[in-house]
């Protein structure tokens, strides 16, 4: 009996960060440092051609397709607070996944495409020592808008954007949408333990 309890405890995301998790596909999680929402969704990826920080044309369906795990967020290079924190989280997750040789891709899409040229995105990437499996994408205003709307991330003015991280673990169809202040460990938990 004690062994079973121990195994169940280890599988619970609550062991690392959450003190309270409600049932159902939409959860509000009270972590030790704040609140974040997480919910499961399936998204239709728009068929758009974007440009990455190396000036390469990238089909978004390719960037977000396949069976490997993906972390996605929406940033802009002059963002004051949310984006640097989310990118720092990505970097730390990248450090962990790099060591485990997991097939994880990181995608950050600019919501200020007219200012965020590939060159500016590359300079932003360097601030976070982004590895080669982390792409920063920009594109036309119309295409970027369609991508934001596809992920229900569009909030009008860029300064109204939310702190959103989307996680799709390997071999999963659904995305976990995380909105709020989240720990690095929580992201790693979601990637490993997504039902």
């Amino acid at each position: 009996m004690p062994l079973i309890v121990l195994v169940l405890g280890l599988q619970s995301p609550g062991l690392f960060a959450a003190d309270l998790i409600s049932n159902g596909s939409n959860e509000t999680v009270q972590s030790k440092q704040g609140l974040f929402d997480r919910s499961l969704h399936q998204y239709t990826i728009p068929d758009v051609l974007l440009i990455n920080n190396k000036n390469e044309k990238i089909a978004l369906i390719d960037a977000l397709g396949g069976n490997g795990a993906i972390l996605l967020d929406f940033v802009f290079t002059t963002c004051p607070s949310f984006c640097p924190i989310m990118s720092a989280i990505f970097k730390q997750v990248q450090n962990v996944t790099g060591k485990s040789a997991a097939n994880v891709r990181f995608v950050s899409i600019s919501i200020d495409p007219e200012h965020d040229t590939p060159e500016r995105l590359d300079a932003y990437a360097k601030r976070f020592s982004a590895g080669s499996d982390w792409q920063f994408l920009t594109g036309s205003v119309t295409d970027i808008l369609s991508v934001q709307k596809a992920f229900d991330a569009y909030r009008g003015d860029k300064m109204n954007h939310q702190q959103l991280i989307f996680v799709k673990p390997a071999n999963e169809l659904s995305w976990m949408k995380i909105n709020g202040i989240v720990e690095v460990q929580e992201i790693i938990n979601v990637m490993r333990l997504h039902p």
């Binding site: 972590s31 924190i85 300064m159 202040i181």
Partner: protein, 556 residues
Amino acid sequence: MIGAFVLIFVFLFFTIPGASPDLSDQQLENKNIGKRIYREGIGSSGQPVVAISGNDVVIDGEMVTCESCHKRSGLGSSESRQVTPPVIPDYLFKPRERGRRGTLGVRTQGAGTRPSYTDESLKAAIVLGVDPVGRSFNPLMPRYHLSERDLAGLLEYLKSKPSIGAPGISDKNIHFATVVAGDVSPQKKKAMLDVFQQYLSAINTETRQETRRAEGAPWHRDWKYKAYRKWALHVWELKGNERDWPAQLTKYYNAQPVFAMLGGVGAAEWKSVHAFCESNEIPCLFPHTEMPVLKGNGYYTLYFSRGLALEGEVAVKHLQQNTPTGSQKPNVLQIHDCFASGRIVAEAVEREATYQGLGSVTSICVDDSSGSNERIKMALNGQDKPVIMMLWLERQAIEALSPLFTTLNLKIQQIYISSKVSGTRLEWYPSELGKLSYVVHSSELVGRLSAHLMRTRGWLQNNGIESFDYRHLQADTFFSLMITRRAVKQMREKFSRDYFIEILEHSTEKILLSSVYPRLSLGPGQRFASKGSYVLSMSEFLNQQTTPSSVSWVVP
């Protein structure tokens, strides 16, 4: 007796703050250390400072700085629903209370209250992320691992941030200036100044008796009413050689300092005015110029667009986007006027072509000299490869050159022209060139411009000052006034030029007023509001009323 005086003097010399040269140097050094941490995220070791956000998110000074969120003004900011509080002395070193002032309902304890910070509690805030009563901050606020030296520096810098107040603000007035730089026609000057005169007249009308309200504001509304100031405008006319303009601007400013400079019009480059604004830290908003300052770390000047240079940059970008990867580099030949606006466009093409790796560009300048045509013939004669032509010329020059292209049997693949250089009415454009030509056009399309300027034109017409010839200038001026009014209202009594700039960065995208430029938007550190340009085929340009808005919009 003398010995006693000496002893007293020595005692005082080493105990009065600042009396010792070493102490003063130390304070200055600390401030500089703190300033670098606050603005750049670099500690006294020369390395980025390190912090933890939340429970386990490691960040460093290269990723985010204090200034990112608390801003250069120190007055804080907001992003979505997250509010970053101020860190100026007026805020940190006073207790925070809740409730109605002057009533028994004022709370000094409980949620939303705290005592004043001390040095020790401020250090705890930075290192441990707690307020003076031990409550934890929002987890987004990083907890910094700083040495004692760096902490002392940061505290010194925060204490040195100025209180609210700025030049150009008196008890009664907020002073603005506008610039008329160089040889500007009287009609053009009048068109701009009419807008200022009518707008300020309306602002200062006091339909709600704002001055009386400010003077007799009830205690629970003084935060709102006491901020009211009448607007005063000073017209600074710059005459003679451009080299003399800085001295003229300084003289004007010394006679009456202004809070900000609005709009402005000039016949030449804007760099002198730009340099003055930067060195005096004066916000200078949206001048009507096609030659903004493109390089350097300008902070206080906001522009509508990159002007003539943008035309060249967009042409190169459009060409690059339409050149298949791996194909031969295009053979670009540009012809521009030697001394006027076309030269600016051509220089931008050369820079951008190098930057984009498009290879070299052949540039020929034309003037009124007799040898000009011969130079063009010589340059064009050897062209046996297909040519991408860029004509940064006015109408007369294009009409004169067009037969030459036919005579020389040039293999022209494409032609780029600019509506800023060649004009916005292109019905005269040679038809044999038209089918190959693209027009770079950074204003809103004609079909949409009327709608964009409806409110502006309505205001101009109602005030009887609309100038058909200078509609663009008047629209620019009206926009700068409207956005200033919005920002001044939001600023309230927190008169700070840095805060004013931060409000403008945050709010330009939100303003409901349009201008001749499409897609105006700023953000932290951004200084050019409209970042791209349309590129239309000649057919699309000549039929703008029906050209869809999905026509090519290029951002270099």
